[in-house]
Amino acid sequence: MSVLELKDVSISHVQGLEKNTVVHDVNVSVKAGECFGLVGPSGCGKSTLLWVLAGLNPHWSGGIQLLDQPLKPGKVFSGELRRRVQMVFQDPYASLHPKHRLRRALSEPLKLLGYQDIDDRLSEGFKLVGLTENMIDRYPHQLSGGQRQRVAIIRALLLEPKLLLLDEPTSALDMSVQAEILNLLNELKAKRDLTMIMVSHDPEVVDYMCDHAVTMKAGRIDKETFYD
């Protein structure tokens, strides 16, 4: 079963009346339970592609089938899809609200969805990623970079996604902390039956983590690799 099918997908950035196409004719298929890697130098369009999959850029053409649901260009995500696709961003310093305690930031989407046992879910999530429960009532600036990235991962996982998008999840972190986060992601993948799409500019990280990867170059797929 494939989680994601891309057929001749081209993506543009629209600025005023101008349209700049940065990704051309991408064909990719990602299977369930796979860790799929997107590699390439900066400016090759890998993050652009990820942003479309997160529903953050509607300016694309071609065919996308995401979690058995065809997407329409120009339309935002609706219904289940919003929960089932979650994203972890590159910079843990920028992805958590600086003036909200973690409890407030993390429980907001859960409240919206009408969950009752929010506190239990939060403490379970903190245990899952190896943080202690007393950190729930801290502010983001009271955590280190690696801890903050763990919190960003909990935030995504609380909504029980099927597909987790990772935009350079470790490039703002130290080498030793990177090892911890990669181990965590591998553990979660085994435990939760997650499909992950990971963008990275470090080929070694992708070699280590992914089951299937494409290398992009100037907006096109240059090379497709299957690891066994």
């Binding site: 130098p41 900066s42 280190s144 970079g145 080498m175 030793s176 911890e180 181990n183």
Partner: protein, 283 residues
């Protein structure tokens, strides 16, 4: 390489906040005209140590040392004016991100020329010649045209080469590179490190290379100093890294992922055990 003239001698260096919190807890090291890597995680005090060597710490931090010599001078008591004469001429520094470290409103030529204007009295024509020669030496194409460009017109790798040109134009004796490659793309990192190492070698300078990626800097340095939570916990020659005995150095050395480690968990730090170990060392 001649090692007899010591460029830096530091004994029992303490850097602390006003409330008494110690950030760097009494470290000793010395180096001559050699390439030394200073490695550690963020918050380990490596950048503070480097900045203290440039006299660039904010006034809210207190520096104490039994001995703190740069090029044979006791610089701890230096006034701002004395530092100005030293910085950019005898010692210079390359910072992490060229996007923020270069002045966006001045062209490249003017920024590379500035150390010459400040520290030497040369005719305009000679200065321009020197600038173009320097830009050429750091591997930038078409220096005459590049001089007129502004930082936003350059890529990250080119920007970092410009930073290096600024740092080296006065032929300093000593260069500090504070994470010179962490803002750059993976493919460009090795090129920039290679360039720094070869220029330093050519000019017979001392280099202090700061990084959190031990494997990457190991190829470009002769000796490695490892810091953890304000303490210097290990020093060893770069060639001996694969047989390091200290557990922290071992983990840093082996935590980088690669294709051979697929399916295995990466080694991570046992911070609890490390805390007892460093406490033991402090006593």
């Amino acid at each position: 390489m001649t090692n007899n003239s010591s460029l830096i001698q530091v004994e029992n260096l303490h850097i602390g906040l006003e409330d008494g919190t110690e950030l760097v807890k009494g470290i000793d090291f010395s180096m001559g005209r050699e390439r030394v890597a200073l490695v550690g995680e963020s918050g380990s005090g490596k950048s503070l140590t480097a900045r203290s060597l440039m006299g660039l710490l904010p006034a809210s931090l207190h520096v104490q040392a039994n001995r703190f010599e740069l090029l044979g001078e006791a610089v701890l008591a230096y006034s701002q004016r004395q530092w100005l004469q030293l910085r950019g001429k005898q010692v210079s520094m390359v910072l992490q991100d060229p996007k923020y470290a270069l002045n966006p409103s001045q062209n490249i030529g003017r920024q590379v020329e500035e150390p010459l204007v400040l520290h030497q009295s040369l005719a305009k024509k000679t200065r321009v010649e020197k600038v173009e020669h320097m830009l050429d030496a750091v591997g930038l194409p078409n220096p005459a045209k590049l001089r007129k460009l502004y930082p936003h017109q350059l890529s990250g790798g080119m920007g970092q080469r410009v930073m290096l040109a600024i740092a080296l134009i006065n032929d300093p004796q000593f260069l500090i590179a504070d994470e010179p490659t962490s803002a750059l793309d993976h493919a460009v990192r090795d090129q920039v490190l290679e360039l720094i190492a070869s220029l330093v070698e050519e000019r017979n300078m001392g280099l202090l290379l700061i990084s959190h990626d031990l494997q990457q800097v190991a190829d470009y340095s002769e000796r490695v100093l490892v810091m953890y939570q304000g303490q210097l916990i290990d020093q060893l020659p770069a060639s001996q890294l694969s047989n390091a005995t200290h557990p922290y150095t071992q983990t840093l050395w082996s935590c980088r992922p690669n294709i051979d480690k697929r399916g295995q968990a990466l080694p991570v730090l046992d911070r609890g055990a490390l805390a007892t170990l460093t406490e033991g060392a402090a006593k």
